[in-house]
Amino acid sequence: MPIYAPTLPPAPDLHLGQPPVLVLMRFDFTRLWRQKIGRFFGFAFLMLLLWKVARIYVDHLLHTNEAFKPMQDFAKTILTQGADFQADLLNPASYLLWFLVALVGGGLVARDTLYRVRPLMYAHPVAPKDYLLAKLGFASLLPFTILLPFAILPWLMSLLLAGFHGPVWATAPLRLLPAMAIASALMGSLAVGASSMAATPRAGIGWVLGLVLGASTLASMIHGLTGIAAVDALNPIMLAEAWPQLFVGVERPMVAWLPAFLGTALHIALWTFVAAKRTRPSEAVI
């Protein structure tokens, strides 16, 4: 037999809350935390980060310690150097990051569809644009947050060991951060668009992976058939890897500036449009 309270106390103030976008993003973060999928990915990314940081130290030793002088030339042949090395800092494991985005992002909208909570959200002071912004923001912030230590820690290590003349350029974060932001927005919009088409989180994961791998395969096939390299700009995996290369000025980037810009804009616009259409209030059947 339930015990009922005598009555409810007076109403609290409704004007001290946070914006709905922030509330929705915080709730998604709590959900992600509960899923505990971060343990595997946390370990994998931490190992990759340690390798990147150790690499800076090794590079420093090769340049400063006479005992390692004979190894310098050999190291130059097997390890990336110059601009390629800077761009490579953000390429810890491109496929691993895409897989994480698919696992997390695939369920972002689909879970709300499965539990039918989106109509209830719209029955609160939440506008469709708030919902969309929260989902896109969360899905984009996730890869950005993971990439952030890869841009900052090796740079700090390099500064500490060798000052402005270390293996990581002093201006590297200024070049890498915008590239990270663009690549993260690409990943986030694709994940949210795909998730909005799915009825369950598992289907959402399938949609993200299907779209990413499908677009990659399609781009490769067209490239192979026509010989037009610019078609690679349809490949989201290649685009995410190309942006750091473009910003640090790699000699032969995977995709040139204009195709990269057009391809990224197309993906972001298309998948944001799909997500907006699929989450509009008219879908909110009460």
């Binding site: 339930p2 015990i3 009922y4 309270a5 009555t7 409810l8 106390p9 007076p10 109403a11 609290p12 103030d13 409704l14 004007h15 001290l16 809350g17 946070q18 709905p20 509330v23 929705l24 709730f27 709590t30 959900r31 509960r34 539990y115 039918r116 909570v117 109509p119 209830l120 959200m121 719209y122 029955a123 609160h124 002071p125 939440v126 506008a127 209030p281 008219s282 909110a284 059947v285 009460i286």
Partner: protein
């Protein structure tokens, strides 16, 4: 609490209106919203929540105009309990009620405090920390009611709140609805197919069909207006000519041992006395047959055939 003037709502500019010519004024209280499937109840709730803009006419809810610019402000003052299971299965009742409170504008700490209070109010005590996926139907319905109440709305919409509940759970839920209005002063719009639920708690009734209001008003007034069914008792049995003339008063439903059940043409039964005087009969008793709500509903929906 709610007022409309010639309200019309369309889902698309070219589609037929889902609601047409709605003119209505409702006082704060518990309003029962009745109507068959496709009558426009959900469309009306969506319009009241500001999710659909009127294509014609005007309306106010809690004094706020029904237009897109004001809809967010309006929704902060309204609570909504959907018919279906809109619960976040992987979260506890406490977590999700706090979440809905925050979405309504409460600060995080206030939302957490309020979630405890409101879950206690609806009768969920220690179980509020468990994921709702393990809840019974009754507990799930109470969580849905709690999320509608967490921000202390001035008005709540309850869509089939007793769906799937056993008789005891149904009674408890209706008790809660009555308490919400009586203790918190919250206006309630109760959409239900279970006429007994509406009959028990509502003090006003709106009957919708094909997007139009078929009847609206207080329960007592509505019953009185629609209650044309009476039983007539005469001192002496009527002769054949008098019985035939009874049709002047209305349709004779049943005749037995000097008692006649009639569906009067006019709502005022005093006309029966005048008719009896004219026929030379002695009418000794007119008993109104108080209609049950289902009869009121059917009569409102099918006025040409009666109940």
């Amino acid at each position: 609490m709610i007022a409309f003037e010639n309200l019309e709502v369309r889902y698309a500019a070219t589609s037929a209106p889902a609601l047409k010519g709605l003119t209505l004024s409702l006082d704060r209280g518990i309003v029962g919203l009745l109507g068959p499937n496709g009558a426009g109840k959900s469309t009306l709730l969506k319009t009241l929540l500001g999710l659909l803009a009127p294509s014609m006419g005007s309306g106010t809810v809690l004094g706020v105009a029904l237009d897109a610019a004001e809809s967010a402000k309006l929704r902060a003052r309204i609570g909504y309990m959907p018919e279906y299971d809109a619960l976040i299965e992987d979260a506890s009742a406490y977590e999700q009620v706090a979440f809905w409170g925050e979405l309504s504008g409460l600060a995080p700490e206030a939302a957490r405090d309020r979630a405890h209070e409101v879950l206690y109010f609806v009768g969920l005590d220690e179980s509020r920390y468990r994921p709702v996926s393990g809840y019974s139907t009754g507990m799930r319905q109470r969580v849905k009611l709690a999320q509608a109440l967490v921000h202390s709305p001035e008005l709540i919409f309850l869509d089939e709140p007793t769906n799937g509940l056993d008789p005891d759970g149904r009674r408890r839920m209706l008790d809660l609805v009555l308490r919400v209005h009586a203790e918190l002063g919250t206006g309630v719009i109760l959409a239900s197919h279970l006429l007994g639920d509406v009959e028990r708690v509502a003090d006003q009734l709106v009957i919708l069909d094909q997007g139009q209001i078929k009847a609206a008003g207080s329960m007592a007034g509505l019953r009185k207006a629609l209650a044309k069914r009476v039983e007539l008792r005469f001192l002496d049995p009527l002769d054949a000519a008098q019985e035939a003339a009874l049709s002047e008063l209305g349709a004779v439903l049943e005749a037995r041992n000097g008692l006649y059940d009639l569906e009067l043409t006019e709502a005022d039964p005093r006309g029966a006395f005048r008719w009896a005087e004219g026929q030379g009969a002695t009418l000794v008793q007119v008993t109104p047959r108080h209609d049950r709500l289902d009869e009121v509903l059917l009569r409102a929906l099918h006025p040409q055939t009666g109940a």
